[in-house]
């Protein structure tokens, strides 16, 4: 006789706000999302980041319920919502294009979700005013969207999401239509808002600085595949592959060809240089995967801030003379381009550094901050 009991894995109740399991999405023959697994704890600020066309917006749209999934499970607050309409998922979304209702005033826009839920006007009003006060748009409540600036429209769109206290907030590149200065202000405000409300947020962006500054958790995507999930610090310091290493951070990590010879658990690194002697470094504590490979060529990753003119004595830092091909003063920092390992590596010097193009100067390489990658698979060693 067949058992009527449910399998165990279905009875377990999840404490997570969002769980995405084995999600696939195909548009015709093109697979834009491949086996996506994402978790979100209550109060987390998760940022989906990746270059254009990596599938991050499609993933958000699947979570929102605006795009049907091909296979896989999405659960919100422990309930399977994979086949539910957006309206039944108790989530709110802020769109890149704001998507305000042009025929309604700001107050009507913010109160739309409450209107849909038949909240009486007398109860709606204080809620709308509270949300507006939070976003500092109390004075705009009677205006139509056409008479608002971009930043104000963005606030209204956020107010519309905030007013009914949903389980989950979705932000689809909300700042990408704003000018650079406003973007930074709004970024800070979104972060403050998250802290104040303790809301669970999924935020899509192609801007890795936005990702680093806002997230408590980052999901890096490329080509429809999750490349790495982790805290901003994990992603920045320990990128799992060359794509993540190159994508996160500005200027990005220098990824150069290097030859390694291992002797007595010490890695001797040789980097070819154009018009110069090869650069030789010594890593006393390389990762075991590098020791296992023994000798051969691989890709060495060094962030620009680990190649600097720092003169502070540090036993991790090896100072080597380098020829500065181009010098770019940027105010707070000075960037110097050094041709080495087949690329134009960027070193980050002090803003006041008195170096000139074509000059040779001592560059300190921080050996504790090196990353090694397999040149064939691109994976971190």
């Amino acid at each position: 006789m067949p058992s009527l009991q449910k399998p165990d894995n279905e009875t377990s109740i999840s404490s997570k706000i969002l769980e995405v399991r084995g999600l696939h999405k195909k548009f015709g023959e093109v697979e834009v999302l491949k086996n996506i697994n994402v978790d979100l704890d209550d109060g987390d600020f998760l940022v989906l980041v990746g270059p254009s066309g990596c599938g991050k917006s499609t993933l958000l749209s699947c979570i929102a319920g605006l795009t049907e999934t091909t296979s896989g499970v999405i659960s919100i607050g422990g309930d399977d919502v994979t086949t539910l309409d957006p309206a039944q998922r108790d989530i709110a979304m802020v769109f890149q294009s704001y998507a305000l209702f042009p025929n309604m005033t700001v107050a009507e826009n913010i109160g739309f979700g409450l209107e849909v839920r038949r909240v009486p006007l007398v109860e709606r009003k204080p809620l709308v005013e509270k949300a507006a006060a939070l976003l500092k748009i109390e004075d705009l409540l009677d205006r139509k969207p056409a008479h608002l600036s971009g930043g104000q429209r963005q606030r209204v769109a956020m107010g519309r999401a905030l007013v009914r206290d949903p389980k989950l907030f979705l932000f689809d590149e909300p700042l990408s239509n704003l000018d650079a200065k406003l973007r930074v202000t709004m970024r800070t405000e979104i972060k403050r808002l998250h802290k104040r409300l303790g809301a669970s947020i999924i935020y899509v962006t192609h801007d890795q600085i936005e990702a680093m500054t806002l997230a408590t958790k980052i999901v890096v995507m490329e080509d429809g595949v999750v490349q790495q999930t982790g805290t901003p610090r994990e992603i920045y310091n320990n990128p799992v592959n060359m794509f993540v290493a190159g994508f996160m951070g500005a200027p990005s990590m220098n990824l150069m060809q290097a030859d390694i010879v291992v002797k007595n658990d010490v890695a001797h690194i040789t980097i070819e240089r154009e018009n110069d002697q090869p650069l030789v470094l010594q890593d006393d504590a390389p990762p075991s995967a590098v020791l296992d490979r023994q000798n051969g060529s691989l890709v060495l990753g060094i962030r620009p801030e680990s190649m600097t003119d720092s003169t502070a004595p540090d036993k991790q830092v090896r100072i080597v003379d380098c020829l500065l091909d181009v010098v770019e003063p940027a105010g707070s920092d000075t960037y110097a381009v050094i041709k080495m390992g087949g690329i134009e590596a960027i070193a980050r010097l002090h803003g006041e550094a008195s170096v000139k193009q074509g000059e040779r100067t001592g560059i300190g390489f921080n050996m504790s901050r090196l990353s090694y990658f397999d040149p064939d698979t691109g994976l971190r060693l």
């Binding site: 294009s97 209702f101 025929n103 739309f112 519309r160």
Partner: protein
Amino acid sequence: MNRSIKYSIFLYATAVLVTLFTLLPLVWIFLMSISSPHDLTKAPLEWIPSEFDFSRYGRLVDLDNGSGERFLSALRNSLMTAGGATFIALLVAVPAAYAFSRRNASMALLFAFLATIMMPPITYILPLYDIFSQFGMLNSTTTLIIVYSAMLLPFATWLMKSNIDVLPVEVEHAAFMEGASTLFTLRRVVLPLARPAIAATAILSFLVAWDEFFYALIFTNDLTAKTLSVAIADFSAGRVTDYGVVAAVGVLATLPPAFLAICFQKFIVSGLVAGSVKG
């Protein structure tokens, strides 16, 4: 704006030409309606009548003696059929257009719809006549409303669909995310944005139904159902034809659609979507 004088002259000359081209027949009809029969039959033709005679208009709205009953009942029938058919066509076309535009309804279906109006009306006349006579529905306003609705629907759906296509879809998505049903979204978000399209579709549909002649000619035979387009011909019948009366009926017949167009003019303004999405 810095236009050269030559270009400006060209522009105004063209505008005047187009205006004359469209308005002259109307002006001539109006002049005919107030000319005496004697002036109208003179050779060579007198463009400006020797006297202005508005008596025909008086007779057309005089119920007691004159042709008031004939004219006014035809006007009533025309208003009811054209108005009723336009209303029904829009009522069905808007949701249908939404389904075609947003819900991936088969385009083959829409083109099949459109194919029905590409056939000449005469192919439908016999079967329709047969059906309506079996139901005893000939010579009735309701019958004309049914026929006209069917005639207007494919075109109205097509027109509405192409207008809904260009509305920003994110705005609807935002409404769904806020928990709105499709019907609520349609009523509260899509319809207000599509108002110019609805007004344009309504005017065009009304005009088509208002000017329709063939079905009305075949399906109606007396004052209870005859529409203006058919009734105009009646005024020319008889032993003596007064072209002035026909012209007067023609002038009056242009007024309701013109009035409708003026009323709806304010809806047909661009920029309703302004402010909803960043371009």
